[in-house]
């Protein structure tokens, strides 16, 4: 997996660039776009574990984002909670919802899960409109901001950056250790996964709950970044955008979806007319990517690198080292 120092170097350069962005651009609007990308990334990073690694398509993640946002606004606003506490509470609520939604649906074939989450997304957007006593209906509600020093655009940007970095780190850890292998194994071959005792249902459930938690946190951050939320912000089609980011970046890699998320979020923000056709545009890209490069750009680059590397001689002749095998199996309990 790891060759050379190329990857750490890229990550380091990017980290410095991201941290210094407020000094690099004085433009508040660009900073806002960067903040939005970071907020989405908090959700997409772990959704990638669910979609890209584990192979479970959660179509209704927007519903979790919405619940996180409303929970944050209600708790930190009228209830007067500390915003950070409210942010965590929003995450916790979404984690519990994820558990309740996943318990029945993750035991069944993937399409059932996709449909259950789609239904969940639709339900949330309907209830957000209808339950006016809680959500103010279509009027929406104001989002509280964080205390100093996070109350300025750049302060908030750094907060989002910190949270996004932490979530990315956790995602990376999950992906590189045994749990990550278990996820990919159950995605690619349930037979292989069960033959080595991977707990398939439990793994899917844990990933979904974890992903639900960060989606809730992302919701709170999203609310603050918009400073005002209405049900319109959480249309189910936003979920398509998340998928495109993941699929275009490449499933089974971490950094690819980030680039996907950044590019896709920036395009409609910066190119005005595209915003109107946003969902159509994302649907189109998703279709093209799935048909042409189903593994996304991440996998495409890996494959190209594989081709370029001096081809390792295929082990046409397998020469076992029986002594080594003996000592490896040897110490048995």
């Amino acid at each position: 997996m790891s060759q050379s120092y190329l990857r750490p170097a890229i990550v380091a350069v990017f980290a410095v660039f991201a941290a210094l962005l407020p000094y690099i651009t004085g433009n508040i609007y660009y900073l806002h776009v960067a903040t939005i990308i970071g907020v989405y990334w908090v959700l997409i990073a772990t959704l990638n574990l669910l979609v890209g690694f584990t192979g479970q398509l959660s179509v209704g993640h927007v519903g979790l984002l919405a619940i996180g946002a409303y929970a944050f606004c209600l708790l930190a606003g009228p209830q007067g909670w500390n915003p950070f506490l409210a942010l965590l509470a929003g995450g916790a609520i979404c984690a519990v919802i994820g558990l309740l939604l996943g318990l029945p649906s993750l035991r069944l074939p993937g399409f059932y899960f996709a449909m259950a989450t789609l239904a969940f997304g639709l339900i949330v957007s309907e209830l957000a409109l209808a339950e006016q006593w809680l959500t103010n209906g279509s009027v929406g509600m104001a989002a509280p901001s964080f205390p100093a020093p996070f109350d300025t655009p750049w302060g908030f940007y750094w907060l989002v950056l910190g949270i996004a970095a932490f979530v990315t780190w956790m995602t990376w850890n999950l992906a590189r250790f045994m749990w990550g292998r278990a996820m990919v194994a159950l995605r690619d071959s349930t037979v292989a996964a069960s033959s080595v005792a991977v707990p398939i249902y439990l793994t899917k459930l844990l990933v979904f709950v974890f992903s639900g938690f960060t989606a809730g946190v992302a919701g709170g951050l999203y609310a603050t970044s918009q400073s005002y939320i209405t049900p319109d912000a959480f249309i189910v089609n936003l979920g398509i955008y998340f998928f495109v980011a993941i699929v275009i970046g490449g499933r089974g890699v971490i950094i690819g979806p980030f680039i996907g998320a950044a590019v896709l979020a920036a395009i409609p923000e910066l190119v005005g007319p595209l915003a109107k056709y946003g969902s159509f545009f994302y649907g189109f890209i998703l279709l093209v990517v799935v048909l042409v490069i189903p593994g996304g750009f991440g996998e495409l680059i890996d494959r190209l690198a594989e081709k370029l590397r001096p081809a390792p001689r295929q082990a046409t002749r397998i020469e076992p080292d029986l002594d080594r095998l003996r000592s490896a199996i040897g110490p048995r309990a």
């Binding site: 956790m170 292998r181 990919v184 037979v191 996964a193 397998i318 076992p320 080292d321 080594r324 199996i329």
Partner: protein, 242 residues
Amino acid sequence: MKRFGGLVAVDAVSLELRPGEVHGLIGPNGSGKTTMLNLISGYYTIDAGRIRLGDTDMTNLPVRARARAGLARTFQTPKLVAALPVLDNAMLGGWPDVRASFLETALAAPRPRREEAALRGRAAAMLHGVGLGEVMDLRAALLEHTAQRFLEIARALTARPKFVLLDEPAGGLTVAEIEHLGGIIGVMRDAGIGVLLVEHHTDFVFRVCDRVTALNLGRVIAHGSPRQVRNDPDVIRVYLGA
């Protein structure tokens, strides 16, 4: 006993695997060899009869629990995780030993790090042992079919199993490779692992096995030492006659 619809696939077959013994299971196509193996490893549910490991009754345990209890297996068509490198595939065999929780892993606590290093070492040793040391970083999908068979054996051994079920491991192998396979099975036996070898290749079975059971049409037709089974008139008839 196992039925598929109205068809009885295996009936009244009794097998006993012992630690440190290689047990061969032979029979013509459709005799129920692979069905037996799927019953033992838990992919099929059993309709009548019992399956025990030591003193524990495993008849109703799911595949996963049986794997945890020390039962590892390979497949007739290798079931690998194509997207992962060879080493990672072998490491997956060590999943039953993973104690690090999801949260510990997310936070890169000491335990997942320790387990990772240990499993990496163990899997690498197994891969070198079966002869795949040179291709550990290659994606499993790029391996040739025979190499995939050996990778499955390495994965099974990484689990440190009590028993290993091999489903036609010699299929498609060259003479030299079958020789290697025999050596590996010998090492497994010496290490005290009980091996069930389901195989078409009867010469190979008679050579490496301590005991052999022959099936035909889902029933035992002969059982005993390789010499006994080889000279059994029923076995000769099934293999040679009409």
